[in-house]
Symmetry: C2
Subunit: 344 residues, 2 copies
């Protein structure tokens, strides 16, 4: 299988390392992966017989500009990849503009239309155009893997799709954001304020300098929107979600909960009332020891699907970092290789 | 897709009801299921254009002998199904002899050899001959789904295979038996003895009249053996597992644990030491509120996979009963329909 990799940041680099370190494992799967293109916004690398990955890893450990590597050129972009017509699957890991989904959305459209399978970590295109992209993939006989968009290593897409195959998903709830979970745990364990816990999370590289998307609940809401669309077939937008973040959670509340043997979790939930009304909500909730989210600690995440015929399924996990994110990209590639039709 | 269903007990009947009630759902999947054979040890039913399922459901609500239904005959068996050569997939739900795996093992061999996909709930053949059956399926270009053998609705096979695709599974642990979990919860909540809790479980139809396989830990060990074989490629037999059941757990121990905010769970675990030594153990363990198995209550089950690149994944769920078991058979059928190669 010949790959084109769009985006060579932290996850892109981790994916290249993973492809190299898992070479024998993948060959045992009958999967001979060669990376024929790596593309950044300013150019890329191409190699007809596959890029020399160990050499590239060494090279880019010190050099940022990938066009300086063998086969590098400022003229390599999505159009030249499509025109060359020699890749089977493209991985899209470009930074996304959440309003427009670009540049990923445009890339994915072009690649699918050219009959190239796509696996992406990019939330924007899924949020904005999942139905359109599914149609396009179907029409061109290729697949679209989106497992990395929602929870990374935690298989929230597989879980609702493969593990619940044949069941109707009636509701979804989840602790979907690792950063807020980390901050709440820090407040609980060290007795500090929200501000102090946030500062610690930022110092540890867990929270971003502008933590708004995480702490105000938008990241959780975005993931919930994707899961609701993919697993329940219900399309809503961010303005339809009733969102409360964790910035208002006080140490006093955390202490009260702790004294009662309870903890705070930022929970996202989609449910459907008897009359068909869809309700989507993100808010901090107090959970007791018997609530399955109680044990979802620190950077972990969790999702619960309630179904008609397969009962409830809770998935907990989702190691953080670039390697698990890259491994979740790899998971989609392998499941496509194993014949699974995410799009059908 | 044309089916032959072997075994028309509780799960078999639930599967037929499910196929009928999910007809439109399945058609939306592009999956038109017709049941062409239902086979019991004493004969069966055949219908070239598919058995009339609503009529059959009504008929067998009062009549036990399926050969009395339209198209019924005492001469229908696995050999006549194979000879007719008109089914795509066979579901094997026959009672199993754990020593020999029969009659399921012989059925599965004949069906796979004839180029018929097989989905089974039968543990025996998987325990005794998984590698051989995989080879046979591969050679004949068909699939073998075993999701229902281990945990029923809880997707322990999918979880380790699809959700962890591309990762190496380093260890497996699980609360894999609903009956023992129910008994332990009963002892904890009502303060009764093991004997009393067992009697309640038997009265509720949760524990069998001879509860040995469950309460002595053999069922957990069997499931652990299957998961270890399928996900870690390690073949062991029941005598290699260090097994302690729950019959020795006293109310005093449960009370002590409860006072400390802890609970008992029957945990099965496969781990590999640094020197490669494989250790498999089943035993009751005390778990605190921060242990993820703490919240696995009553009839629920759970499994945790530890991997190299995708971190840990815990799956919790597994509704009990014939419908969820049938739904887990259906899950395999659908995932095969969606192109997934369980065997490759």
């Amino acid at each position: 299988m010949k790959l084109a990799v769009f985006g060579y940041g932290g996850v892109g680099k981790a994916l290249i390392r993973l492809i190299e370190s898992k070479k024998e494992f993948l060959q045992a799967e009958g999967l001979d992966l060669s990376v024929n293109y790596i593309v950044e916004y300013y150019g890329g690398i191409s190699a007809r017989d596959g890029i020399d990955l160990p050499k590239l890893i060494e090279f880019t450990a010190v050099e940022k500009d990938i066009t300086k590597f063998d086969g590098g050129s400022k003229d390599i972009n999505v159009d030249t990849v499509v025109a060359a017509g020699d890749v089977d699957l493209a991985v899209i890991m470009t930074p996304t503009n959440k309003e427009t989904g670009e540049p990923g959305l445009g890339f994915i459209r072009k690649l699918l239309a050219a009959g190239i399978n796509v696996v992406t970590s990019d939330k924007g295109p899924v949020l904005l155009a999942y139905e359109e992209l599914k149609e396009l993939a179907l029409k061109n006989g290729v697949q679209l893997g989106i497992g990395c968009t929602t929870g990374g290593a935690l298989p929230t897409i597989n879980g609702g799709m493969m593990d619940m195959a044949g069941a109707s998903i009636l509701s979804i709830e989840g602790v979907l954001n690792g950063t807020t979970n980390y901050i709440l745990k820090e407040m609980e364990e060290s007795g500090c304020s929200y501000r102090e816990a946030l500062a610690k999370a930022q110092a540890a590289g867990i929270a971003e300098t502008d933590p708004t998307l995480d702490v105000e609940g938008f990241d959780t809401a975005t993931k919930l929107l994707i899961l609701t669309k993919v697993h329940m077939g219900i399309s809503r937008s961010i303005s339809d979600v009733d969102i409360t973040g964790i910035t208002g959670v006080t140490q006093e509340e955390i202490s009260h909960a702790k004294a009662a043997g309870e903890k705070y979790r930022l929970v996202g939930r989609t449910s459907v009332a008897a009359d068909g009304t869809v309700s989507m909500k993100v808010a901090p909730e107090r959970v007791g020891a018997d609530n399955i989210f109680y044990g979802v600690e620190g950077k972990n995440k969790a999702v619960r699907f309630v179904s008609d015929t397969l009962g409830d399924l809770v998935l907990i996990g989702g190691a953080s970092g670039t390697t698990p994110a890259a491994a979740s990209i790899m998971r989609d590639i392998i499941n496509i290789h194993r014949g699974y039709k995410f799009v059908r």
